[in-house]
Each structure stands twice: as C-alpha cells, then as structure tokens.
Amino acid sequence: MSAMASKTRRILRIGGALAVAILSFVVYWHMAERSVSRNLSGTDLAREEQWNSLGGQWVADSAEVRNSSEERGAKFIAHAGEWKDFQISGDLQISEPFGEAGVILRSSGEQEGVDAYHGYFAGIRTMDSSVEIGRADFGWRPLSHVLFHAAADPQGWFHFHVVAVGCKVALQVRSPGGEVASTLIGEDDCIQSGGFGLRSSYSSAKWKNLRVSTANQADLAAVGANAMQAAGAGDLLLSEPTAQSDVQRYTASLREEAVKHQTQPGITPISSLRYFPGRHPNVTVQGNVISLPPLLDIQDNTSTIIIPDVDPKIPLKLGDFVEAHGTLVSERFRSRLEDATIRLLWSDLPTPPLAVTAAQLTAGTYRGRFIEIEGTLISIHHQTDGDELVLKDGDQIFRALGQVDLRLHAASLKPGSRLRLRGNATALDQFTNGIYPFTVITDQVTVISAPPWWSPAHILWLVLASFVLLGCVQWVIHCVQAWHVRSLLREREELAFEMHDTLAQSFTGISYQLQAATMETRGVREMQAHVQNALRMVDLSHREASRTIAALRPQNRQASDIVAALRELAERLSYGAGLIVEAHTDGKDVELPLALTDALFRIGQEAVTNAVQHAGCTIVEIRLQLSREQVTFTVQDDGKGFSLQGQTHGLGIAGMKSRAAKVNARFTVAPAASGGTCITVAAPLLHSQGLLSELRALLTTVFTRRYLH
C-alpha cells in the first residue's frame, strides 16, 4: 500500500513538473511572439536607457540617435528583447568621407570591440560609396558588397531599409542623390533570432526616423527584388576595391579625408609659441583635446597649450580636434591662450597618455602633456566643484583636481591607496596655490591597490586585540586554577568523610572490644575472646584500609560487587552475633560510573555499620534495584530505630547526604516497616556520565601537571 502511494506521488510530481515546463514554454513563446509583433519607432527608441552603449559616445533623443566618436565598431544595442523576422528602416548620415555605419541584426553576446558580437551588420560605406552585409562572430565575414554607380555625397542623408526573414537578409539604400542600391544574402547556417542595434566605424554618424517592425516574405521580396550583383567571393577578401575605377573612387574618399585633416594655412605650431614672450593677440592653433575644462589643453604634433577659463558647458570630449583663436600669453617658457574662442572641427580618438613619474613632471619635461601618473593617496577633500586629492610619489607631493565630468567614487578612496591618474599636469599658481610643484587635472582615477594592512591604525587595532586576547587567556587560566583548587578542597572533605567512615569506625569497634575485655568478669577465656575480636578487627581494619585505598581506584565497578562487598562487611562486623544479612541485586547487572560506585559503597558501609553497632537488629537487608534510568539502593534493618532529630547533624548522616548529593542522588532516612531504619538512595543513571567523568579526570591531570606542579 505504501509503495503504491509512493509511486502515485512520484507520478504526480513528474506530471506537475511537466505541466510547469509546458506552461513556461507556452508563456515564453507567447511573449516572444508578442515582442516580435511589436512596432518600435519615435519615442520607443528615444530614451538612452533603452540602449546599451559599447564603445563610442552615443546620445539618443526624440530627434535622432548619434555617435560623436570615430571609434571603430562602436555599438548601440537596443534593450528590445529577441527578434526573429523583422525589418528596420531609417535615415543615416556619416560624417567622414572614410567611414561606415549601419544596423546590427539578430545580435547576441555583444562586447566592446570591433566585431565583438554574434549577428549580421547591414551598412553603408562612404569610403567607396557602397552597401554591405556581413556576419560577425568575433571576426568579420563579408557576405555581400555592392557599389553605387556614382559616388555618393557622404555628408547627405542615406535612407536604408533592411529586412531579415528566415535565413535571408535584404538591404536597400537610397543615396542622397536618389540612386538606389540593394543586395540580398542567404545563409544555410544562419542566425535565426537576436537583438538589434546601431554601429559605426571610423566616423561619427547620425540615425533618424528609425522604425523597427515585424516582417514577412512579402517585405523581403519588396526590398530584395532589385538586388544587384554583389562582388565575387575573391573580391570580398579585402575591404578595399581592386578594380581600377573603384580604386580611384576609394582613393578620392581618402584624399577628401586627408584634406579635411591636414594642417590649415595660418595655423601656428604650438611648440613655436613659447619662443614669443609677452602678449600676442589673434593667434590660432589647432589640436586634439587632451584635457577638458576647467583646464582645457590641446595638443598638436609639436606640443600642447593650456586654454584657461573655458566655459565647462562647451560640449567637448577627449580626442576632439578643435581650433582655438585668442591671445597668446607666453612667460617663463609657459604659454597659455587667453580669451579664446573654441571651434570644434571634428571628433577624433583620444590621445593615449604618456606614463610618467612625479619627478619627471617636476622637472617640467612632460608638463602640459596628456599623462598618466601613479601616486599614494595622502588625503582627499570634497569640494563643491570636484574633489581635491593630495598624493605622494617618491619624494614628490603633488595635488590632483577632478574635472567636472570625473566620475570619482570618493568613498572608495582611502588614504594609503595607490592610485593611477590620467590627465594633464600644470604648474600654474591658480592650480598649485604656490604649494605643490604641479597639479594634475584628472579625468580618471583608478585604484591600483588598497592601503597596506600595516597602516598605523591597523597596527594599533592589532595591539589592542592582542591585549584583549591575552587578558582572555589569563582569565581562562585563572578560572581553571580556581576550579582545580575547589576540586582539591572537595577531595579533602571527601577524605575527611572517608576517615570517619572507615578508620574512625574501625577504631570504635576495636575500642569497644578492648573495653569489653577489661570489663570482662566471666573469665579469662571470654576476655581472650574480646581481645581476639579486637585483633581480628585490627586485621579487618587494615584490610579495609587497603580496600579503601583500592576503592579510590576501583577496577571493578559492577553493581553486584557493591552488594557483595557490603554483605561481607556486615557479616564481618557482626561476627558471632548471629546477625542475618540478606543481599539482593534486582535488574540487569551493569557497570556503574566511578563516582556513583564510590558513593553507594560508602553510604552502604555507613548504614550497615550503624545497623550492626547501634540498632541492635537481627536482620539487615541490602538491596540494589537497577533500571535503565535509575539505581535505587536500600539498607534496612529491624532494630530499634533512631531519632532523626538527634542524628541529623551527626557526621554519619551528613556524610551520607553529602555523598548522595555529589552524584545528584535523592537520600532518605525513614522508619522501616519492621520497626527499624530504612536508608534509601535513588540516583539517576546518565549514559554520558562515565565519559564526562573520565574527561574531567583527564583535564584534572593535565592542568595539575601543567600549572600546579
């Protein structure tokens, strides 16, 4: 029956899991279908949070999406889920004559890097006025490349329409001049679904009127109907054309790019400015931005120049190529351009920094250059217009100021940290305050390593913790010693009871016999009998003393041994008096804990001695009842009984009570049914008691040897 129920439960569990899985799949399929059936345009794509930027400088608003960087393979991936068969259309403008831009389809696994994604790219190339479809899998494989018949105006707006249905992708592009180029590709091992995004290379670019919607075969046919003959596979090996006419067009684009970027007449090389001391109005320089306001710094191929007091709100970024026109102030081989007007010519890539040391900067060699420097943070001060850092590198202490767009997590910077700063160094007094040899205006701070653990604060805490730990250890040792002293005192007390219960009792018996001998009047024979008894008792006492010593280290702790030993004792004490001794052990004979064995034996010894010597009894019954949880020990006689009141404080009763208490036993003295006295000890039997006792003995031994000897 139980097996049947178990089987039923298992079937129900499997059925439930299958139902949940099917339900999940249906919900997923339904959601996926819903996402595919969506149409996205206008405000759907106007918010930056709907996109993930991977390289480049992207901005999205209601009017357009634009990338102002020339970084190769800059991507802007939409957070729009999985798409299968869909189409994207829009208008695209590419700023540079040598550039390309377009859309990414069915993408996944996107990372920063030129071809770092899985998916298709359909785009426009201004360098040879062509359209292209290819596939990226962290490596680029061109699938189709079609040229416009006439060179297209790269500054105009291209209208594009790309459709992906099944394993086919079609692209149609209308140039600013109205010419249409289209191409169609098909793959057997195609990517079936994925996200979408925008991508550009070598040029800044703008997209507008973007629309994304589901597509079908009719859409694909409409766009791919007039697909043009694509280049052969051999011609796709290189991204450059090989036919002579195409090469000329390609070269023309390159020339246009080159002419745009060449140094214009009337532009002064920056390095020459320092040789003209004084103030010189109407000076024009050009260069890449290597440091942003408040200390704008531009660098050409000869040197750099600082342009102070530039409005921080001018939209500049590192790498931008600008023209600055203003008044040159050159003094003490330091030049700056004052009252300058700034004109952005084009965006370029940021200049990589030079790695320098503080000593090199102090010497002035690299001052004004875009540099990277390391230093140990001494302090950080938060200001309304940014953070101020004081650092040390070698013997040099210098200052760093965060630029307006510095995203510095000040809370993560701790004094003692090793930092790497990227920026521009200046010795102008307005930045150094006349205190530091130079100040780095930084746009990026990186923590290389956290402060070392052996900082003064940490060492102080370590010392304090050591003291506390030492105190704790001392306290524990003190407790152990106190505990051991208490144990010794308890042992002394037990020995006192022991002496009373054994030697003192024996001496009483001997004294009693010898006294009887001196008082014997019946004759020599009876007197000798008393003396013989006394001698026998001396012998017994000696043996008992030996047994007592042995009892301190008993080797046999069976319950029945206690009863047998007490029976022998009673018979010995009452020798010749005709006392009947009855001894019983009820229950399973087990080995009792050492402390309990000792307590029961001593209590029994006292009780039997009292019964023989004081009760005047004829029968003594000794009984030990053993159960799983408890042991009950009884000594009962039929004597005259005794007054509890008179004996409560006597050493015998007190000793028995004390022994019983030590083993958590209940001790009672009551009149027996036969008129005598009944002493009962009921002790709990704890299974772990033996182990604890042995552990305690072991600890006592160890601590005694270690600390007291």
Partner: protein, 321 residues
C-alpha cells in the same frame, strides 16, 4: 539508505555536470592582440584558429577597438585570467606596463605566449615568445630605401613606437642597417609616434612641406597611413617615396603612393603561437623565442600567393572558432 543513495547519485551528477562545464571552459584559449579587424591582426586570428581547431581548442578573440588603448587591453587580459581560460596569446600594447599582469598570470599556472614584443622576462615552462623578425624587417626596409634612393639623399623616420620594445628595436636596427649599406643617406628627422592618424598626417605634412626628405619611413601602420594621407593632401609631394611597416591599406601600394610596406606574416605567427600554447598546456617544452620572417610588399609582388594567403581570413566562418 535508498534516500541516501539517491542523494549520492544526484550529488555525483551535479559534480559531473560542473566538472564537464569546467573542462569545456578550460579548452578555450584567449587571444588578445593590440586591436582587431585590421590587415595586421586578422591573419593572426586565422592562423590561431587553424592551429586551434586541429588541436581541439576553441578561441576567444577580442581586443580594444583602437591601437594604443592600453587600459582596455590590460583589463581584457585580467578578465581572461579570471575567466580561467586554458591559456592566453597576448600582443602587449605597451611593454613595461604589461609585464606584471603577464607574470601574475604565469604565476597562477596559466600558459602565456607573447606575440610581437620582447616583454623582458625570460621564456620558461609557461612563457614563450613568437614575434616578427624585426632585424630582417629593418633590413628589408633599409635595402628598399637604399634601392629607390640609389643610396643617396635624405630620409625622415616617423611614428617610432616608443611604447613597445619591438618598435624601438625596429627603429634602431633600421638606422644601423642604413648606416651600413647606404652611409650616404642622411636621416634628417626622427619623431616618435602615437596611434592618432591625424597627428601622423600632420607630422608628415610638415616634412613634405619643408622639402627636407626624399623619403619617409613610417615605423607603424598608422604612421604609414598618416604619411600616405599627407601625400594625398599635398599638391607637390608626388616625388617623395614612402616606405612603411606593418600592413594596413593595400590600394596605396597598388597606386604607387606608398612604395612598399614590410608585411608581417601574422598568419604564421598565429599558427606557431597556438601550437606553442597547446604544448605548454600539456607540459611540453617549446622553443623560447621564435622569429617569423616578414615580407616586403611592393606594387610588383602584391598579388603573390604569400600575400594572398594572409588575406584569406575574410572567407573564414568565424562561428566555428
């Protein structure tokens, strides 16, 4: 007891699945060149993948979008070390700054093959070098300059790569060979470079406008492109010859605007680097430093098979890497 058996079996299954996952991850090699999607580095991509496929490895290939982006390259390297690939093939963008991360990776037991740089630490059980034979490349360029200038005239050297030990060695070796084979040719201008094409163009423009050199020798691909752009934009510079290093644009060679370029055989470099890495991963010893001879590409030989084989990366189906 039965429940315990079930739990044990489930635990073993989980361990099996997890360990299988680790093994898959460990069979992937990370390759980090200075940048990607260029004629210089994509042949190496192809070479690595060819060698990896025959040995049962997968490839993770990525690098900064632009040359000179040291920060992103080191970040990529560190990330690959943390992801516990079975090895890394690395072309450092900057020699000195890359030393510590490479030594750290080797210290963690990760095999590393350095491509196209003399990083500094000697080759060992987990570290080897495969690089372009810069001495031979410098000789090819020097001989070409001597030939086109008939061993007389003046040259300007631009775009000297000061961030890279191989770049400095390339320039020093070029000057040494020039002095030996064509002592009458004067070097009238030397300038360090950076990865900004516009700046290299403006440097070359200044040289062209000053008419002080008969030829420009550009020590990097970006420098070569900058010199080419300057020549394109100039009206009176047709007679100035350009000899460059490292393949970039092909059409300027075809048109004759760039006389010649010393082309690195990065496909072979990639093949050897991957073979070395696989051997290091299996505890085998490899040659500490392997030099791969470069080729001089001119308009006359640019369609030779040894060059065409370099551009075949475009036909490769990268989803299989």
């Amino acid at each position: 007891m039965r429940a315990f058996g079930r739990h044990l079996a489930l635990g073993l299954l989980v361990v099996l699945v997890v360990s299988t996952g680790c093994r898959n991850e460990s069979a992937t090699v990370a390759v980090i060149p200075r940048t990607t999607a260029t004629l210089l580095w994509e042949p190496m991509h192809l070479g690595v993948v060819e060698a990896a496929r025959s040995r049962g490895y997968h490839i993770y290939w990525n690098a900064p979008a632009e040359d000179g982006d040291l920060e992103k390259q080191l970040s990529e390297f560190t990330s690959c070390v943390e992801r516990r690939y079975s090895g890394i093939i690395f072309a450092p963008d900057e020699t000195v700054a890359s030393r510590s991360v490479v030594l750290d990776a080797v210290g963690r037991g990760l095999p590393v093959v350095i491509v196209n740089d003399q990083l500094g630490p000697p080759a060992g059980r987990l570290l080897s070098y495969v690089r372009n034979d810069e001495a031979l490349g410098a000789r090819l360029a020097a001989e070409r300059v001597a030939e086109i200038l008939h061993a007389h005239g003046s040259i300007a050297i631009i775009a000297i790569d000061s961030r890279n030990e191989s770049g400095l060695f390339r320039e020093e070796e070029f000057e040494r060979v020039m002095a030996r084979i064509a002592p009458a040719i004067q070097i009238v201008h030397r300038q360090f470079g950076d990865p900004i094409v516009t700046r290299q163009q403006q440097i070359a423009q200044e040289i062209l406008e000053s008419h002080k050199a008969d030829a420009i020798v550009a020590m990097t691909a970006i420098g070569t492109r900058g010199a080419y752009y300057a020549k394109l934009a100039s009206k009176n510079a047709a007679s100035v010859r350009i000899v460059g290093f490292d393949q970039d644009l092909i059409s300027p060679i075809q048109s004759g605007d760039v006389d010649s370029v010393v082309v690195e055989d990065t496909r072979t470099i990639g093949q050897i680097a991957m073979a070395n890495l696989a051997a290091e991963a299996h505890g085998s010893s490899v040659k500490g430093v392997t030099l791969v001879p470069p080729l001089l590409m001119t308009r006359e030989n640019m369609n030779a098979p040894e060059f065409i084989r370099l551009w075949q990366f475009s036909a490769y189906a990268w989803q299989q890497q």
